[in-house]
Symmetry: C2
Subunit: 558 residues, 2 copies
């Protein structure tokens, strides 16, 4: 047993940071520790003493000190709890929400820690779900389309307000002084690695998926940035870095300072940063083409590997070395999945079902699932378009909205709940079809994230709708496990880790033995309903009928 070595993965989520300690031999979880961010999501006003500063709608900030406190609190707790000898911990990896970015000085000091800038919201961390840079995203999309930027097809033809240059440009637009003071604009993912190692690195995953970088072409040309704003022409050279490090590479060793925070030995290998969704793929055993990983939570994120860069309609992005070194990682997404079911449970379920949940000592989701599972495919007579939060793939249109059709006076809440699950499954099938139509095969699906644990009906419906077998990752903490795996990789096999993420995945990642296979009779019914979904999807999503946009416009004017 003394030969067993361990790696730590730290997953920086939206509300908390989670540190997990796993065995490098078989990936089993030895312990976990969570630090709930003191300042959480900052979306109404800045923290005390600057809480007189209100935030505009669509803003979402974070406090970078919460990330450091995750190291200072969760890591020592984890070591204490597990009793593992810190000397046996050979590597650390981290993953982060993305794009979550901040402006810093040249030494990495966040601008929001400077006394004179602390009251300026633009000096803080812009969280992934900060959506106030939509005007900048619109400008980027318009200019890119007009100039025929060659990188645009890699992102399905449109970039998001959440992404790096949208947020950076918003700082320049609205707070040119903050922009001027920023020596660096950096992903929080890379910033925390910098804090651990003392060395600034930039990882290929966030650069590729969120900052328009590619291994072959680098960043967009200065002329493009200049077309957005002359002051923006040299943003890459002035505030970022052209040295992008592939994931799976050692960023450095743990600094003395970080060793003191965490209780781990100085010099412990630290991997370059990664993104929560993408790092989940190898943690879900997927390191080769053919299997689509779906991270199912509040939203769905689809990760798929390919040998070549294929243009796929409406995907979020394709990045070489973005998920597994040496392969192209494709990303697609659905903007509302768990959020949609949560919305329904919160707003649309009558008291008797809540009461039954209370009586059974369970949740209303469980009661809905149980009732919905009694229904046969097609029995509800309902069909939905799952666009309650817009469409992220393949239409890439945030203005789209939900639709439900087929209601009668006999329609029940569990029937609608099931129709919403089916709609997200149809949406996933549209994405699967888009990949296959572009020549990127999807033979099977591996699910991970929070939903597969909680909703077996959802898994079966995804299998029945897509006609593919669904496996489920054994770990319910795939991001942290994946990060730990990258920690084991940068430590290397010689030190008790692994020499590649493929090898780490084959040893440390596992699937549950139980899988969900499509039931032929169910698949046949969904094969009849799917063309109905696709027809409505195309009608309302591709400009045939603009009612959703008109309603949004009318709502704004009201």
């Amino acid at each position: 047993m003394s030969a067993e070595r361990y790696a730590v993965g730290v997953d920086f989520g939206t509300e908390s940071g989670r540190a997990v300690l796993v065995s490098c031999v078989d990936g089993r979880e030895i312990g976990a520790s969570v630090y709930p961010y003191r300042n959480g999501v900052i979306d109404e006003r800045l923290p005390v003493p600057h809480d007189g500063v209100p935030l505009e709608p669509d803003w979402a900030l974070q406090d970078p000190e919460d990330y450091l406190r995750t190291f200072q609190e969760a890591l020592p707790a984890l070591l204490a709890e597990t009793g593992v000898d810190p000397a046996d911990v050979i590597g650390v990896g981290i993953d982060f929400t993305s794009c979550t970015m901040l402006p810093t000085l040249a030494d990495g000091t966040p601008l929001c820690l400077l006394g004179d800038l602390r009251a300026d919201p633009h000096a803080w961390v812009k969280l992934w779900k900060h959506h106030a840079a939509q005007p900048e995203a619109d400008r980027i999309n318009a200019v890119a389309a007009e100039r025929g930027e060659p990188w645009l097809p890699r992102y399905g033809g449109r970039i998001s307000s959440e992404w790096f240059f949208s947020k950076a440009l918003q700082i320049l637009d609205e707070a040119p002084d903050v922009y001027a003071r920023a020596d660096r604009l950096i992903e929080a993912a890379d910033w925390v690695v910098w804090q651990l190692t003392g060395t600034e690195t930039r990882n290929s995953c966030t650069a590729g998926y969120k900052a328009l970088w590619s291994k072959r072409d680098g960043f967009p040309a200065g002329a493009f940035f200049a077309a957005l704003d002359p002051r923006f022409e040299h943003v890459v050279d002035e505030k970022m870095s052209r040295r992008i490090v592939p994931i799976g590479v050692r960023a450095g060793g743990l600094s003395e300072r970080a060793a003191a925070w965490t209780g781990l030995p100085p010099g412990t290998a630290v991997a370059v940063a990664n993104v929560d969704a993408h790092v989940s793929a190898p943690a879900a055993t997927v390191t080769a083409p053919g299997a689509m990983v779906i991270i199912m939570g509040t939203s769905n994120c689809h990760i798929l590997l390919g040998d070549r860069e294929e243009p796929v309609e409406g995907m979020c992005g394709v990045v070489e070395d973005g998920v597994v070194p040496g392969l192209f990682g494709f990303e697609a997404g659905q903007a509302a999945v768990g959020d949609l079911f949560g919305w329904f449970a919160d707003t649309s379920v009558p008291p008797d079902l809540h009461e039954r949940a209370r009586r059974l000592g369970t949740g209303v989701h469980e009661v809905l699932e149980e009732e919905a599972a009694r229904l046969r495919p097609g029995e509800s007579g309902l069909l939905a378009l799952d666009w309650w939060n817009g469409n992220r793939s393949v239409l890439v249109d945030a203005d789209l909205r939900g639709l439900l059709v087929g209601m009668t006076l006999s329609t029940t809440a569990p029937e609608i709940y099931r129709a919403l699950i089916e709609a997200t499954a149809f949406g996933t099938r549209v994405i699967v079809d888009a990949f296959e139509d572009a020549g990127v095969p999807v033979e099977r699906i591996v699910a991970c994230g929070g939903l597969p644990d909680r909703n077996r009906l959802l898994m079966q419906i995804y299998a029945d709708v897509t006609g593919r077998e669904l496996a489920v990752a054994a770990s319910s903490q795939t991001p942290a496990l994946g990060s730990a795996m990258f920690g084991a990789v940068v430590a290397g096999a010689a030190r008790g880790g692994h020499d590649s993420i493929v090898e780490a995945s084959s040893r440390m990642a596992h699937l549950r033995s139980e899988t969900y296979r499509p039931v032929a009779a169910h698949h046949a019914v969904y094969d009849r309903l799917y063309p109905e979904y696709v027809r409505l999807h195309d009608l309302f999503g591709r400009g045939g009928d603009d009612v959703m946009r008109t309603l949004k416009q009318t709502q704004r004017e009201a």
Copy 2:
């Protein structure tokens, strides 16, 4: 005061019979008495001792003795309660749900009272919402269309399974022995008048709206009936009557037997029968073209008067003398209104709103209305097609279903509630437009029925959507008041009544002083949303997109 005379109206509803005594001078209600039918709606099994006879789905029967018990119970109670001298009651009118029909012997004895037929469901009264004659309705529609029957356009091109010949043909199809034993097939409306007077009459309203009769052309030709079934060729001459009496005519005087039941003097004038919705028009002050009466309850029924018989798309029917003698009465309808709001309140409202209703000591509808009233038009961002129970006008398609579009993760239950109200208002506007397009003007709207009392927001939205002033009938019992008015008419002015329904209406019917006027700014928003409703209405309702029918078919197969 001794000169004041009274009339009695008896409204036979779905669950009970209601007798109202009103002043012939000003229509004020002196008293009311309700008899809840002992056997109510018979839709699962026949009453004891034949409760071993189960009914098929879609069946709905009634017990004719419940109608007689209404006379025997409610009338004496009404006289006792009001203390009015029976000699001062000069006339009686009745109205009924329709088409509600039964088979009888030549003397009026219902076949279900015969010992050997009591266990046969076909011997009982078929209630208006008996929907098991759909195959017969389909056959009638197919044969009529094929033969190009001249009466078909008067009914918007399609007749209902609820109507007289659908039900009569079902008896012939499924119980030829019952059909053979029936000397008469008769509307329950006419049957109760027969029981009061001893004289069989057939009224122009049910004959016109439910039995394909018109003043100019009479009933369909024998060849048409023969094409349905050779045994059906002479149904009119064998089982019905060609002598159709216009409403507003005296059917006879109260028989000795009925006088004993009711406590009214023998010989009291009794009007020919009427239908609940249609008799409401004069009770809502409308006896001339230009004003549309909407009876708002579980469904909406629209009554409009015209000088000429115009073909109006998708109306339920147009009948000369059908509502007011000398005019053409047009009828249209919406199949789910109060039922739709009730469905929503029962199935789709979360516990916190129910809890608030409880705390306030009110109902969940009131809480929804209060919240929905805070919203501006367009603010919900939602639009619905109100077809939870199919579409009765102008599409006349029971297979259509509900649709809701525009939902986001911020959508609330009161927003959906408001969108459903707006959808029924848009549906009414489609009907208004169909009439105006056909040259039948709709200058203003008078609402009556159960909903106007309960939902002021609904009234305002109808005004805002249609751009027309909405008045509300003063009486909340317009059917019974209308029936009493016809009682006063058949008594005549010389006896303290009135000589015409127009005169009776001008004296006995009233509007509330408060009306609902369109708010210009609201109307402007709805004018922008209405074309969206119409486009979706036409797309899903006129065959452009058959998803609703496909879903229904898939549901059936599941």
